[in-house]
Symmetry: C3
Subunit: 256 residues, 3 copies
C-alpha cells in the first residue's frame, strides 16, 4: 500500500479491513502513507523504488489521486510477476516501465456494493486488489487499455558546454536531495554538481564517507538517481533546496 | 489497534509483542496511533469509521485513556461478530451502537503477572485481547456490566428559522472538517452551510468535483457525517476552523 | 524492525520486501522508524524496552547507523531466545545485556548480490535476518567477535549530601522525561526530584493519579527507569527540559 492519506485518519485502516475481509492468507505491507497530499510525482518515485524489492505475486495498491470522482480511469496493470492497482494518472508509470497488460477496473463484482465518489481506495482499489489476490484473472476486472498514462518527468537539458541539468524530484527524511538525473545522463567527465540558488561546488563521491562530517557530496544512490547529501547532516537545510530546484552537473572549460 | 501513543516510543510495539507472544496465527493491524493525546472523542470517531470494515472475529483494542490507574473499568464488549477491548470511558461508544455483552476485565489469567498502573495497554488490554483471540469465552474475562459509558456528543441545536447547528468533531489529514451533523439531521431544504467565524456560504454538493479547484463544498462523507472540504485544498486552513467550531446548516427565509 | 529511516521514504518498505522475498511465513513488526536521525542512545533505549515483550525466536533488526560505509562491523547476536541484527555501535547494548554469541556479518550468501555503501539495512541486515529466520545457524553468518560495543550511558554521580544525579535520556510522545536513573540507583530516603533549570521540587509517587491534573510527579516507569511526568500534560513543556538535562534525586539535610 502506498497513499497520501496519512495515518491519523481511518482511511488506510478501512482499506486494510476491506482487503482482509475479502482475501485470506495475505500479508499487508505499508510502503508509506506520507506522500505529500496529491503529489503524484513523489508517490511515483517512492513506489518505483520500493516495489521492486517485493516477492513474486505481490499486488501493489497505490492511491495518490487528485482526480478522484472525475474521468481518469481506475486501472490494474501486470508488470513481470507483480500487479499494480491504482488511478491512471502517472502514479504507476515509474514502477511499471513495460506494462504487459492494462485493464480498466469496471466489473461490478470487484467493487463494494456502494462506491463512494470520494473514497475509491476503500470502495474500488482495495476490493479489486482482493479479487486479484484471490487468484482471479486480470482479464476479469474490465476491458483492456492500450496505454499507461506517463509521468511528466522534467526534461534533461544539455547546455552549450556539455553540462546537463535536471531537477530535485524528492527530498527525503534525512534531507538528501534526489534529482531527476540518472547515472546514464551524466557527461563522461565532469567537475562537480551545483544546485540552483547556491554557489557551492558539490564534489562527486561514492558514499557519505568520501567526505568529512558536515560536508556535501553527490553520488548515484541505491535507486540509480544522482543524489546530493551532507554527511551526518541535511543537504536540504544546508543548500536551502526544495523539490523542483534545478540541479546541474557541470563540465568546466578547463576540465575538457 | 487504535491508541494515542504515537509511534516514536516502545509502547505500541510492546503491546504487539504481548499479543504475538500469547496468541498464534493472528494478523495485527494498526488503525492509528496518532489520536491526539487523550482525545477520547477523536479516537471514538476514527474507531467507529474504521472498525466496521474488518472481517468477522476481529478483536479491536482501543486505548485513549486519560483515567488510567483510576476507577474507570477496563472492559470487553461484543457487538455483532466483533469484540472490542478498552477503557469504559466513551471511546467504544460510537463503534458499538448496540452492545450485546459487556464485561469488566478482572480475571487474573488475562493479565500480565505484574500490572503496571500506567500501562494498561500492554499489561491488561493486550493480554485480554490475546485471551479472546485464542478463542476463550467473553464470559471468562470478568463480571458483566449493564451499560457502556456513552460519548458526550455535542447537542444538535435547532434554531428558530429551522436551521440546525452542530460542531466540527474532527479535522482530518487533508484539512477536511467532519461535523457532528448526520444526513438524517439535515433540514429537508436548506440553502448552504456556514462555519463559525467565517462569512462564506458553503454550497452543498455530492463530491469534490462538484466545484472548481480551491472552492469550498459540503457533502455527506463516506462515514455518513456532513463534511466541509476544499477541492484540492484545506478547508481547515481556508476557514481557519478547528475542532469544536460551530457548523450551521442554514435555512434561509427566502428559500422557504 | 527499529530504524531512524522515517516512513516517508521507500527505505523501510524495501527492507520488508527483501525480508518477505527471502523468508516464508514471517510476521514483520515495526517497533519504530521515528528514532531521531543517528540517535544511537534513543534507539538503544526504545529497542531495549520493546524487544523484551516479543516471543521466542524473534529476530530483531535495528539500524541507527551514523557510521554506515565505514569500519564499524555489522553483527548478529544471540541473547536468550532472541537474535539481534544491526551495527556494532552500541545500539544493541541495552537490549542485549548478556550476549551469548556475537558474529560479524560477512558470509557472501547472506548479502544481496550488490551491497550498496549507503543502505546496509536493505542490502545486508535484512538478508542476514532472513537467513536466520529460515533457520540457518548463527555460526554461518561470519566469524565470532569477543565483545559487543557498549553504549556510553551518562555516569551516575553521587553528591556530598547523598543526592544522586543522572540525565534525561529520552523525551517520549507525551512529554514524559525518561532519566538514566534506575530504581536501584535511588537513595533509600529522599525528598524529591529536581530537573536542571527548574526550581520545582517534583514529588515521588506511584502513578499519574498520585497527583492532581497538571501537577508534576516522578515515578519508576514500566521500563524500570525514573520518569518525570505531568498528569494529563507534558513535563517537557512545563519544565522546558530536553534530552541531556541533569536530573537530581535530592536527599535534604533536614530529612536525614
Amino acid at each position: 500500500l502506498l497513499t497520501d492519506f496519512g495515518t491519523i485518519d481511518p482511511y488506510v485502516a478501512s482499506m486494510k479491513g476491506v482487503l482482509l475481509s475479502r482475501a485470506d492468507n495475505i500479508t499487508v505491507v505499508d510502503i508509506t502513507h506520507e506522500i505529500a497530499p496529491q503529489d503524484v510525482m513523489g508517490g511515483a518515485m517512492v513506489l518505483a523504488e520500493a516495489a521492486r524489492w517485493f516477492p513474486p505475486s505481490t499486488v501493489h495498491i497505490a492511491v495518490v489521486d487528485p482526480g478522484v470522482g472525475t474521468a481518469r480511469e481506475p486501472i490494474a496493470v501486470r508488470s513481470g510477476t507483480h500487479l499494480f492497482v491504482g488511478p491512471n494518472n502517472g502514479l504507476l508509470a515509474l514502477a511499471v516501465r513495460h506494462p504487459e497488460e492494462v485493464r480498466v477496473l469496471s466489473a461490478p463484482d470487484i467493487q463494494l456494493a456502494s462506491v463512494s465518489r470520494t473514497f475509491h481506495g476503500r470502495d474500488l482499489f482495495a476490493p479489486a486488489a482482493a479479487f486479484l489476490l484471490r487468484g482471479r484473472a486480470l482479464a476479469d476486472v474490465g476491458p483492456p487499455l492500450d496505454e499507461l498514462c506517463p509521468l511528466p518527468l522534467p526534461p534533461l537539458r544539455t547546455l552549450g558546454d556539455g553540462s546537463v541539468e535536471g531537477e530535485v524530484l524528492h527530498v527525503d527524511h534525512f534531507g538528501n536531495l534526489v534529482t531527476s538525473l540518472r547515472a546514464i545522463d551524466l557527461p563522461p567527465t565532469f567537475e562537480h554538481i551545483r544546485l540552483e540558488g547556491s554557489h557551492r561546488a558539490i564534489p562527486f563521491g561514492t558514499t557519505y564517507s568520501s567526505v568529512e562530517r558536515g560536508e556535501l557530496v553527490a553520488y548515484v544512490g541505491s535507486a540509480g538517481w544522482l543524489e546530493v547529501a551532507v554527511r551526518e547532516g541535511s543537504a536540504a537545510a544546508l543548500l536551502n533546496a526544495r523539490r523542483g530546484a534545478r540541479a546541474r552537473v557541470v563540465v568546466q572549460r578547463g576540465a575538457r
